[in-house]
């Protein structure tokens, strides 16, 4: 599959990123075509 660069980049700043790790993400009900 496609390489995802994020995990590799994040290694060096692991602590900060884990602290910012967001387990919740909101999406707008108006933000996806077909959902209305």
């Amino acid at each position: 599959m496609e390489p995802k660069t994020d995990p590799e980049v994040s290694d060096a700043v692991d602590d900060t990123l884990v602290e910012e790790e967001l387990l919740v993400e909101e999406i707008s009900i108006d933000g996806m075509c077909g959902v209305y």
Partner: protein
């Protein structure tokens, strides 16, 4: 609202890195791909779906995406329809967008809606309003989990009725008045943006504000009868810029993410319409048509985009999870990436339905490409484009009064 952007990925079609901006607070739950990729890969069940209850309609709108008019004799029976509700409830589909044709024409309309609500499946239905008399409005006002969307395509009767038929504007306004009088609360007014009404958007907004209603503006697609009326109704390039700006200036107006094909217009100024640029067809939404056929979305009622039928073994869940079409749509880069210019990451290559019904390959530009990359191809293909696989149009002249 947190909008996430994917990391750098490579399209298997073009092998060109698609660079997406990384905003400051990009969420990274370890091991979980970004949300947009989750959605593109398909969910276990739709978030919502469109369910056209009937092909029967009292109107004959020139751009009807379902080519409605006459009831299909193979329409799902009441028992079958209630079973579909049960199936959707079991899958925990959050809500259904009921439409048609005109859904209120079905004698069991309230049975179906009541059953959905009782099973904790929300209902939003789209209607021309003709059948929302005072009694119906009061009945709706007493219901929970119900949302109503009135279709109107012109601020004044002349503009609207030219597209939807004589008397249709009046019927829609009457429905809105009845809903307001019944204290229904916030309903939606939905307009399909056309060449002839795009200058009326401000007036529309005021109308919606007056009713305490939510305004929704969506894209005209060359689907259903729209294939033939598209050239007359589609926005000109200057009008595209006009509506792009208008939507940016009115973030409280809903658009259903239907204008992301215009996002290349914002490249220079760094602006983009809010939304994920995400085509949900077969991934997070789909269509169930009046005879139980399941299509990727309401704008592709064509055999090429039909996944199965709810009457098949395994019902809707099996179609959603196992159909070849939907599995294919959930593959990364399934439609291919338009390589006409460098704006792909802004416009996402547009809408596959729009491309299909204007004879443009799915990895080509959107017919309404704001930068004009499709203008020649659309002109060349005009007259030899595919048409919907279902046509229930009545042989009625536009201008005749709507009848039952």
């Amino acid at each position: 609202m947190t909008v996430t952007h994917s990391p750098i990925t490579h399209s298997p079609i073009t092998q060109t890195p698609i660079t997406l901006s990384r905003k400051g607070s990009t969420p990274k739950a370890k091991g979980v791909p970004p949300l947009v990729e989750q959605l593109k890969g398909g969910l276990d069940a739709p978030i919502c779906l469109t369910w056209e209850l009937t092909y029967a309609c009292n109107l004959a709108c020139v751009h009807c995406l379902s080519s409605s008019g006459r009831r299909d004799p193979k329409e799902l029976t009441t028992a079958e329809a209630l079973s579909v509700v049960d199936q959707l409830a079991a899958l925990q589909v959050f809500y259904i967008n009921i439409g048609g044709g005109e859904p209120m024409i079905r004698k069991d309309f309230f049975d179906i809606v009541d059953h959905a609500v009782s099973r904790n499946v929300g209902v939003k239905f789209s209607t021309n309003g003709y059948y929302i008399d005072q009694a119906a409005a009061e009945r709706f006002a007493a219901m929970d989990l119900l949302d109503i969307q009135i279709s109107l395509d012109g601020f004044d009767a002349e503009t609207n009725d030219a597209v939807r038929g004589q008397g249709s504007w009046e019927a829609a306004r009457r429905a809105m008045d009845n809903l307001a009088a019944a204290n229904f609360g916030e309903f939606k007014i939905s307009i399909v943006a056309t060449r002839h009404n795009v200058d009326q958007l401000d007036d529309y907004k005021l109308m919606a504000d007056d009713y305490g209603a939510q305004l929704r503006v969506t894209r005209l697609r060359p689907s259903g009868r729209g294939v033939d009326s598209y050239q007359d109704l589609r926005l000109t390039h200057p009008q595209q810029q006009q509506i792009f700006r208008w939507i940016l200036d009115h973030p409280d107006v809903l658009t259903g993410d239907s204008f992301f094909h215009l996002n290349a217009l914002g490249t220079d100024s760094g602006e983009a319409l809010p939304g994920l640029n995400l085509c949900g067809a077969g991934r997070i939404v789909c269509l169930i048509d009046p005879i139980g056929d399941v299509y990727a979305c309401p704008f592709v009622i064509h055999d090429n985009f039909m996944a199965g039928n709810v009457r098949d073994q395994g019902g809707f869940a099996n179609v959603w999870r196992e159909s070849d079409l939907f599995q294919e749509l959930r593959e990364p880069g399934s439609a291919g990436a338009c390589a006409s210019c460098g704006s792909y990451d802004a416009c996402g290559g547009g809408c596959m339905a729009a491309k299909f019904f204007t004879g443009i390959p799915l990895d080509g530009p959107d017919p309404d490409c704001a930068l004009g990359h499709a203008d020649e191809a659309v002109a060349a293909a005009a007259g030899s484009v595919p048409h919907s696989s279902q046509d229930h149009s009545r042989p009625v002249r536009l201008g005749a009064k709507p009848t039952l």
